[in-house]
Structures are given as structure tokens and as C-alpha cells.
């Protein structure tokens, strides 16, 4: 549940940031066939670019489903002074409200909202800020657990942010595939694909720094990294994260860029990248091991001493029996 939330929130926030930046940079979008609803003509051209808040709004209920008493979810904002769960509640709520408002504004042709007014830049900036905060927050939520060395680092929020931006960019490319939305500005699609490549490379570097740093921090950090790289979770890591999330998307997008935008290749690279983003979060969540406290260490020493003593006694007993025989 938590992995699904982390994934949807990251991808939704990342795609909203990239989509809004495209708007600010003046990328021209092809008008899509309009749709009429209750006498209004809906403008659908920004839907594939600004649908991020919907993904986050879908992901947030997974957190509520994980609660013991679900109807009390509104209490979750009572302690923002120290709790990151409470801060996250406020960050996510603000992003969903502002993001959905901008999304609805881009669809509905209401004259009284003055959609072209430059004043709309203010809620856009607020929404982008909270979208970035949402993407970073998914990492900070785990970082707040100080007793798990694999999560307790500022590199994790950075890794999740980069992953959010790469999966978000890919979500935009996938949602515009076949619609001809970029036909007015095909350079924008090419730029987006190059951005995905760069983000994938950055993600690989940050992932290396993250894992190498964690493996040096403590015994449990090393065990967690070992679990991810060579242990039980190695299929999530090598197959899911490295192959699907980094290698295949990079190679396929590179071929697609040089082959003039092969749709099948872009589609495949998109799917693999989105799967990789999910496996990254599942792997990091499942590989977290709690720090060993001195009491555990003491028990370990006592246990080993007692095992040795039991072995010695057994050896003595078998020796005595042999003598009697």
C-alpha cells in the first residue's frame, strides 16, 4: 500500500512539475478534438500534461486504507511541529487542491476566471512548489525513521525526487503518445526524451551514491544494501530497478531519438521506466533493517557464549559416554 502511494505521489508530482514548466517555457500544444459537456466546450489539450494531481489524489487514499481506524484520517494533521506524517498530510492536501483547481481551469472555458490572466502564475508557482515538496516528501517520510540506517539519509529524498521527475516526464510522453499533441512543437517531445535520458543517468549516479553511503554507515546499513544487491530482494533491484528502471529505458529512448521517434520503442521504454520507478520504492521499503541497540548486542554476545558452552557440554558428555562404553 505504502509503495503504491509513494509511486503514484512521486509520478503525479513529477509530471505536474514537468507539465507546468513546459507551459512556462511556451511549448505549443496541438488542440485536441473538443468535447461538449452540459453546453460547455471542454479544452482537453492540457489534460495529458497536467493530470499529475489526479494521480496523487488516487495515491493518497492508499495511505488511509493502511490506517487502523480509517475514519480518523483527519486527525493526521494535528502534530505538524514534529511529525512528518502530519506535515505530509498538509503538503499533499495543498498540492491536490491547487493542482486540481489549475487542472479544472485548463479544461473548463469559463470566462469569469480569466484563464489567460498573468495572476494565474501565482497559484501555478504555489502548486509547483508543493508538487516538488510532495516528490521530496515521499523520501523524507522514510528518512524520518531514524532507527533504519537505509532510510535515514538526505540522499533518499533526492533519489525519490529524481525518480519522480523521470517517471513524471515519461508519464507525460506516454499520455501524449498517439494524440499528436506535440505535432506543433516536435522539438518539445525530443527535448522531453533527452530530459528523460539525463534524469535516468542522474538517478543511476544518485542510486550509486545512496547505496555506497548506506553500506558504510553501520552494520545494519551494510546488511540492508546486501539484502538489496545480493540477498532476497536482488530480483527487485537488478531486474526491477536497474534493468527495467535504468538500463532499458536509457537504451530504448536513445534508439527512439536516433530513429526519429519510433512509437513502439517510446511506449516500451515508458512502460519499463514506470515499472522501474515502482520497483525502486518497493526495494527500498522492503530492505530497511532496524539499527541494533546495545541490548540486542548484549543478548547476541550472551547467546553466542551460551551456544559455545552448550557445545562444550555436549562434547564433554559424548566423551564421557565413549569412556564408559
Amino acid at each position: 500500500m505504502i509503495a503504491i502511494y509513494l509511486y503514484l505521489a512521486g509520478m503525479g508530482a513529477g509530471s505536474f512539475v514537468i507539465g507546468t514548466l513546459m507551459g512556462w517555457l511556451g511549448v505549443k500544444l496541438n488542440p485536441l478534438p473538443s468535447l461538449s459537456l452540459l453546453g460547455y466546450t471542454l479544452n482537453l489539450s492540457k489534460v495529458p500534461v497536467l493530470w499529475g494531481p489526479i494521480l496523487v489524489a488516487i495515491g493518497a487514499p492508499f495511505l488511509i486504507l493502511d490506517l487502523g481506524i480509517k475514519w480518523r484520517f483527519m486527525y493526521a494533521c494535528l502534530n505538524p511541529r514534529t511529525s512528518w506524517v502530519a506535515r505530509g498530510f498538509l503538503i499533499l492536501s495543498t498540492f491536490i487542491i491547487f493542482g486540481l483547481a489549475l487542472f479544472v481551469k485548463s479544461i473548463l472555458p469559463l470566462e469569469w476566471v480569466h484563464g489567460e490572466s498573468s495572476l494565474w502564475r501565482i497559484p501555478e508557482i504555489i502548486a509547483v512548489f508543493f508538487a516538488l515538496a510532495t516528490a521530496v516528501y515521499t523520501g523524507i517520510l522514510l528518512k524520518a525513521t531514524k532507527s533504519v540506517p537505509l532510510w535515514n539519509t538526505y540522499v533518499l529524498p533526492v533519489l525519490f525526487l529524481v525518480s519522480a521527475l523521470s517517471t513524471g516526464s515519461m508519464a507525460i510522453i506516454l499520455s501524449t503518445l498517439g494524440t499528436g499533441l506535440f505535432s506543433l512543437d516536435s522539438a518539445a517531445l525530443r527535448a522531453l526524451m533527452v530530459a528523460v535520458q539525463i534524469l535516468v543517468v542522474i538517478e543511476g549516479i544518485v542510486l550509486y551514491l545512496y547505496l555506497s553511503g548506506r553500506s558504510r554507515v553501520s552494520e545494519q546499513g551494510r546488511d540492508s544494501v546486501h539484502l538489496l544487491l545480493l540477498g532476497e530482494k536482488k530480483f527487485f533491484f537488478w531486474g526491477g530497478d536497474i534493468l527495467l528502471g535504468l538500463v532499458l529505458p536509457f537504451v530504448l529512448v536513445s534508439i527512439a531519438v536516433f530513429s526519429g521517434g519510433n512509437m513502439l520503442l517510446i511506449f516500451l521504454s515508458g512502460l519499463t521506466l514506470l515499472c522501474g520507478g515502482f520497483f525502486l520504492r518497493v526495494g527500498v521499503l522492503h530492505a530497511g533493517i532496524k539499527e541494533q541497540i546495545p541490548m540486542h548486542r548484549l543478548m547476541e554476545i550472551q547467546y553466542n557464549a551460551m551456544v559455545e558452552r552448550t557445545k562444550a557440554l555436549r562434547g564433554l558428555k559424548s566423551g564421557e559416554t565413549r569412556e564408559i562404553q
Binding site: G68, N79, V85, E291, M295, Q302, Y303, M306, V307
Partner: protein, 162 residues
């Protein structure tokens, strides 16, 4: 000023009978169900090692820091204990993940997180422990008691050597 008391566990005395779990669950839930107890005895049966684990009511508790609803809070008027208000708890289990000792437990029947609250000043585990493996002593004298017992054990072992 009221003296602050803490639970002290002497692991070497524990026989692993789990009576503490039983009386704790009866006191808090009205049922003899050790899975709902606030104290848990961790066992290494193959070597006869038993460790009763209860909340340490830490000086800087992570559970209080991460709780989003302030359900997990400190009560200076009650032995400075760290306790959970069941009416505020949403069952997010953040405190369980945050605690280095893995202490707060999720009660599957009440759907909230629960933890040791010193049984409102009269810990049942202490009252019923036959071998006195758990005691409820003044925080300031904890180390003294442990030191005294260690020296007594040392003196006892020296007698055998002689």
C-alpha cells in the same frame, strides 16, 4: 516532588514463564491473551535465554516525535511515562516503525497502537513475577541496585573459587 519510577528488567533472573504477558493482557484487555500484552518475553529456547521487553519510556522518545496526532505523549505527572491516547490514535503504526526497541504494538482487535503505561502506577508484571525479574524502582536508584546485585554475584562467585 514525586519520585520517578522505572521498570527494570534483570534478564538473568527470567525463567521465561510468560506470566507477565498473561497478567498484563488481563489488566489491559480483560482477556488472558498474551498477544495483546504490553510486555513481550523474547525467547532463545535452545540456550535457555529469556528477555522480557517493555517500553523504556525514553528521555527523547521517537514515538512521540513521529506521532501525527499527538496520541503518543508524555505524562510528567504520571511517573513521566510515555503513553498512547487510544481516542486519538489512528493506527498508522508510525511509532512502531520509529521505535528502535520495536516496542509499541498494534492491537488487531482495537485497531490502535498500544504500549506499556505502568498499569497506572502498579505494574502487574512486577506484582506477579515470582522470581522478581522485573522491578519498579526509583529512576535514580536503578544503577545502584544493579551495581549492588553485580557485586553480590561477584562475591558469590569468588567464594566458589576459594
Amino acid at each position: 516532588m514525586q519520585e520517578e519510577k522505572v521498570l527494570v528488567v534483570d534478564q538473568q533472573k527470567c525463567t521465561g514463564c510468560r506470566l507477565c504477558e498473561l497478567v498484563c493482557s488481563v489488566f489491559h484487555t480483560g482477556t488472558s491473551n498474551p498477544s495483546r500484552s504490553r510486555v513481550k518475553v523474547v525467547k532463545w529456547e535452545d540456550v535457555g535465554l529469556y528477555l522480557p521487553m517493555a517500553c523504556n519510556h525514553c528521555e527523547k522518545p521517537y514515538c512521540v516525535e513521529v506521532c501525527p496526532t499527538k496520541a503518543c505523549h508524555r505524562e510528567p505527572e504520571n511517573n513521566n511515562r510515555v503513553t498512547i491516547d487510544k481516542k486519538l490514535c489512528i493506527g498508522c503504526r508510525t511509532c512502531i516503525i520509529a521505535c528502535p526497541f520495536g516496542h509499541p504494538f498494534f492491537d488487531v482487535q482495537e485497531r490502535v497502537t498500544v504500549k506499556c503505561d505502568f498499569c497506572d502506577g502498579d505494574p502487574q508484571c512486577v506484582r506477579f513475577c515470582d522470581v522478581k525479574a522485573i522491578s519498579f524502582t526509583d529512576a535514580e536508584k536503578t544503577n545502584l541496585t544493579r551495581k549492588r546485585e553485580a557485586f553480590l554475584r561477584y562475591a558469590e562467585s569468588m567464594k566458589h573459587i576459594r
